[in-house]
Symmetry: C2
Subunit: 436 residues, 2 copies
Amino acid sequence: MHPSGFPEWLPEGQLVERRVIDTLRQVFELYGFGPLRTRAVESVKDLVAKGETDKEIYVLRRLQADHEDDDAGVGLRFDLTVPLARYVSENAGRLLFPFRRYQIQPVWRGERPQEGRYREFIQADIDIVGRGHLPAGSEAELPAVVADALRRLPLPGVVVRMNNRKILQGFLAALGVTDVVKILRIIDKLDKVGPQALTEMLVDNGVADREAQLCLRLAQIRRGDASFVDDVRALGVSDPTLDEGLEELAAVLQAGQALQPGLLQADLGIARGLDYYTGTVYETVLTGYDKLGSVCSGGRYDNLIGAGTDSYPGVGISVGVTRILGALLGRNKLGASRKVPSCVLVAVIDEETRRASSQVAAQLRARGIPTEVSPGADKYGKQIRYADQRGIPFVWFTQPDGHQVRDLRSDTQHPVDPADWNPPASDLTVQILSLP
Amino acid sequence: MHPSGFPEWLPEGQLVERRVIDTLRQVFELYGFGPLRTRAVESVKDLVAKGETDKEIYVLRRLQADHEDDDAGVGLRFDLTVPLARYVSENAGRLLFPFRRYQIQPVWRGERPQEGRYREFIQADIDIVGRGHLPAGSEAELPAVVADALRRLPLPGVVVRMNNRKILQGFLAALGVTDVVKILRIIDKLDKVGPQALTEMLVDNGVADREAQLCLRLAQIRRGDASFVDDVRALGVSDPTLDEGLEELAAVLQAGQALQPGLLQADLGIARGLDYYTGTVYETVLTGYDKLGSVCSGGRYDNLIGAGTDSYPGVGISVGVTRILGALLGRNKLGASRKVPSCVLVAVIDEETRRASSQVAAQLRARGIPTEVSPGADKYGKQIRYADQRGIPFVWFTQPDGHQVRDLRSDTQHPVDPADWNPPASDLTVQILSLP
């Protein structure tokens, strides 16, 4: 039994995933985001209220529930925003605002597995939640943090496409569209179905011909600067919510340009499926992987979190770690510089002197050098092969007349002192490699 | 709705947990163990076959399952050994043996929550799995690795108590006991119920008076060296499996003494509930927290993993991260040196010059200094209070006439250059503190 949609990597992929997550975490902390780990379960009530479709939710029950069963009504989280909202509501009196947190955990969705879509996958989220108001610059800061993190990894480049829900909502209201949520979800499919099919879908769903054409023209606007405002104005549609959205999006785009030129793009076709977004929304395409869908999405939510009489507006962005790794590992585009963390293998002459080998290993580890002792007192050739198969760069020989280290890449061997030998810094930890 | 048994820490506890997990991971990699992350679900068949009781298993179903539902028959893992066994069986042809892996993930058990027992908790496991045979010294190495990791954290000391399943099985066989598993589980309760009640429970379960006394005397043997062998011999019971177990336990104890004197103790009352152990078993008590139960358990399993005609004997040990943190955070014995990762807060004069503050922050982050920019251009006093409430040690002022840094602990302020200022190394990252 191997359930589909639950990916698991081989050891090399595991090392790559570990380094990717560590890099994200380090960069998030560098920007002052604190760690958060929440429980896997949420109440089914919360999940249903905030999810896209009930079918995606996994509920739990005990295999043999007894009468005291109090697990009823819990299911697995499908994102990290619902748990954040619940955590903030529960602990609002004990948190400091603005609350900056990152969270890197798996989420579960019972959808049909396909390329880029899994039933269990890791998300890496950062959010800023304010009390009463959101700090200036938050919506521009989040994509810059994520881009900084991704740039430190051997990954393709990214462009973050942004829109503002108010633009779409105001525009549709001005056109007299009533079922805004339904029409938003249709507009969201532009990239997938193309302009022709989109117009037809809009008409089939009760939007008049001329209005459908206007929707299409709006959704096709893409600009790297504030000139998108003029493009929208040229459509001749006017509405106060639309104006608010245009102003907000232009401001975020401008602040983003100051932090990192070229990262942000206004794309008025971005809608995002989830209902809880109220302002800026993000989607991110990995250069050269357009068909993979968004690898990094999010947005602003003003009404998701409730606690007492205060409002808790927030903004978040979520990196699809498994989606990125699934695509790159699946195409053999990423690898690790070796298959195990060990930098040194200490050879063993015979079981009687294993203790001497262990002592050398302890000396090396005390200086932060990942080291393992050979599992068996085999012939040296076999011990060297053990290291070679795993990509361990150095083999250490502890002999009665002194210590020697062999570099397996250059096949050279030198006398060394366990008290002060160090490998090159680049060999200390496993490196992620971009493969051709 | 806050389901009991699913603990979640406040931000300070989250930072402590993060540092504890990072330390374990770093030390595990220092010993050459590679990372493994497996999916949350296993087949219910596997879980039932290897679990202690069906009641503890959580199964999944989709809230609105349709006809194509293929999730039937999966449940959440209750430990990290069952997933390891399944991963090795599935990938045996693509792994290198001995396979050394660590795994730090939550597990789920539907049991009644109480001190030290949760429905969701983090385990940190290391295992060595051989093909055909297990490398010499593996059973002594694992407790030494864990002890090395725990010693780097401000935690109470540990003693690892060990037994060998063959001792108990051989001893019981020699006494004519037939339902060995049932009697093992009773013997395992010695610490909880005391000698009097234990003897009564054995007699109630069909063990004759004299034999029950012998079981009690065996279970009470505790020694830091191989002298436990003489204690067992003095009981006058003889059996080939018993002899094998005594020999193995004495060898592991001796090898352990060489790696780290005083860490290991033979305790012939340790049985461990799970059926799959076949040799050495471990339990670990945190000094001063005897009632908490074992914080680090495991053992050797010769027949758990099957793949083709080869045998895959393994040995593993599992640190109960949530059990340890629950006890220490709950008693306010652990804290963090600050409440956020940020080492520096860059103050903002007004929104027009926010860009200058962001540039200073970027310079500091490029040198690895966790930095956030003040959320608002408030009065300096308010910005200093923001840093102070979070324990951020330094506030940076970017003024037209130059830069200044204020150390909030000494309340002193100095002119500085953003191109080369560095905080003391101990302020760079959040430290875990042992509280009185």
